[in-house]
Amino acid sequence: MSDGIAVENLSHSWGSFALKNINLSVPEGGYFVLLGPTGSGKTLLLEAIAGAYSPREGRIVVAGEDVSHLPPEKRRISYAPQNYLLFENMTVRKNIEYGLHAKGVEEQERRKKSNNLLEMLGISHLTDRSPRNLSGGERQRVSLARALAVEPRAVLLDEPLSAVDPETKSSILDYLRRVHYETGVTVVHVTHDRLEAASIADRIGVIRNGELTEVGAPAELSKKSLLKPNSLFEDDNLISGTVIGNEADLALIDIGDGKMIEAVTRRSGRVILHIRPENILVSKVGAETSARNRLAGTITEVTDLGATVRLRIICDQPLTAIVTRRSFFEMALNIGSSVYVFFKAMSVDVL
């Protein structure tokens, strides 16, 4: 697959902060998430791709064309900034049709495209509303529709879920997945939330202090990071898998090597599973419990956290569990101990 967006050796500095030798490539139709803490330079990198400034060194290539020195309007890359920044002097429809209007598209054609997007994103009822009267989730969907209306070569989303509540977050993620699937547009999405990143990305790039330190698929990255202290993914159990069956909302998920995990979800296809370390039970015996999931493994690392102890357990998938200090000593656990881990189907977040 050809490169949708390629950033090659990009460097740029602002006083004491600099983006240093950034290299990344997003295949056409790919969903790339740039993950990093506040102040790491992820938004600056996104703005370089959008055309807010020309990088001092390196280049940005979109669909084979070097756009490094082109103005934003010539790049055909839609930018959806944090907090959405809708045009408040226009209705929702006019916001969506803005780019088409700027390009001189006929009103009939504009209306047709905006109607399709309004329907796709479930915001038809907001057509004539002012952006001032919209909720965070609604604003996000309008912002997305506005970005997609011009049929860009790529869409840049800067913290698209930062201003919405957790429930809306999940629904917006579903919209993003659907829109990406239906339009096939290349997406670069910036976030500081690793679960958000893992739940939607094809590939994730981790950026710290202006440097792209890791790039990989979510599951790859979580595996690597689990073994690395102070990682962004530390303590989170992220496992990729495929839903192979579903009965009464209890899904059977293949996580590879013939291993299965059960989780409560209606999702199908490829999923990322998230299990909190404190929701994992550890036992030396494989007793029958009500928990739907049981895996056998070996403790490879023990970290004293004071009242609790963190255990790294390798059971095909590396997992992290947190147990109380008292349980740890009563069960005589240690590095090398063979254990069983249990967790309920309800404890598995399906992302």
Binding site: A52, P72, R75, Y79, P81, F87, T91, A102, P152
Partner: protein, 277 residues
């Protein structure tokens, strides 16, 4: 600059209110305190309205201060935009030059202007060759008023651009809009309240200018100069001799001017409060 800093310590709204408060104070002085005083005040206003000289001066004031506000918007919006958005070499110098009229006495501003636009001076003589008088003419009045009052519009726009989220323009341009399209469809609608506030401040300042006009454009007399002339020649009250009105009274012309200015001011505020959608 220190001079402007002391003025700009206050928000534009406070400065605007202060300007209006001064006008209202003058108006209050003319508020009738008894029935006979009311009759006096009313007949005084009628006297001013029916005086051709007073009406002509007030008309000229409205025309020239309105034109000044329009010129200030025309020049001040692009200038304020440049100063607010870009950090270029010489920016501080331009900013300082724009603020100078607020720091110097207006008679000094008048002297400065006449040394450039006087009929025997550099620019003035150039225009004089084509029969265009830059002093003691409407052109002279507008040049003077723009010099002493356009700063308010430039500074308002500059501050509005500085406080505007520039990513809004990036969004527009990333959607394929040119920088000109973006300016008129996104930037200007975002700062238009500041543009109107700047225009009101400029207009209000221009309509009350006296000092610089005394030197640069004494004729034709705008209202502020006529009021001074009437006061200096005949005192505060009307002067009538053998049935002929020598002076409609400085106080009556001043009161009429205040009513008109307040009416225009209210009109501006109504326009400013209108929502776009």
């Amino acid at each position: 600059m220190r001079g402007f800093a002391s003025i700009s310590r206050f928000s534009p709204q406070i400065r605007l209110r202060s300007l209006c408060a001064k006008r209202l104070t003058v108006l209050c002085l003319g508020i009738p305190r008894s029935k006979s005083h009311l009759q006096h005040s009313f007949s005084g206003l009628i006297l001013a309205i029916s005086n051709a000289q007073a009406l002509s001066a007030i008309g000229l004031t409205i025309y020239t201060s309105g034109l000044t506000a329009a010129v200030a918007v025309f020049l001040g919006v692009p200038l304020g935009y440049l100063l607010g958005k870009y950090n270029f070499r010489g920016r501080t110098l331009i900013d300082s030059i724009i603020e100078i009229p607020l720091m110097i006495p207006h008679t000094v501003a008048g002297i400065a202007l006449i040394t450039v636009f006087g009929s025997a001076e550099l620019i003035g003589s150039l225009f004089n060759n084509y029969g265009i008088r830059m002093t003691n003419d409407v052109i002279g009045i507008v040049i003077t008023l723009v010099f002493v009052s356009a700063t308010y519009t430039v500074k308002q726009v500059e501050e509005a651009i500085k406080s505007m989220d520039t990513r809004l323009e990036l969004v527009s341009r990333s959607l394929g809009a040119s920088s000109t399209f973006t300016f008129f469809k996104v930037t200007l609608p975002s700062i238009w309240r500041s543009v109107v506030t700047g225009a009101i401040l400029t207009w209000a300042r221009a309509s009350s200018e006296v000092g610089a006009l005394f030197i640069m454009a004494y004729y034709p007399a705008v209202a502020s100069i006529l009021i001074w002339n009437l006061y200096a020649g005949y005192g505060l009250r009307p002067s009538i001799s053998n049935g002929q009105v020598l002076s409609p009274g400085a106080i009556n012309v001043a009161a009429l001017m205040i009513f008109i200015n307040i009416a225009i001011f209210i009109l501006f505020k109504v326009v400013q409060r209108r929502r776009v959608i």
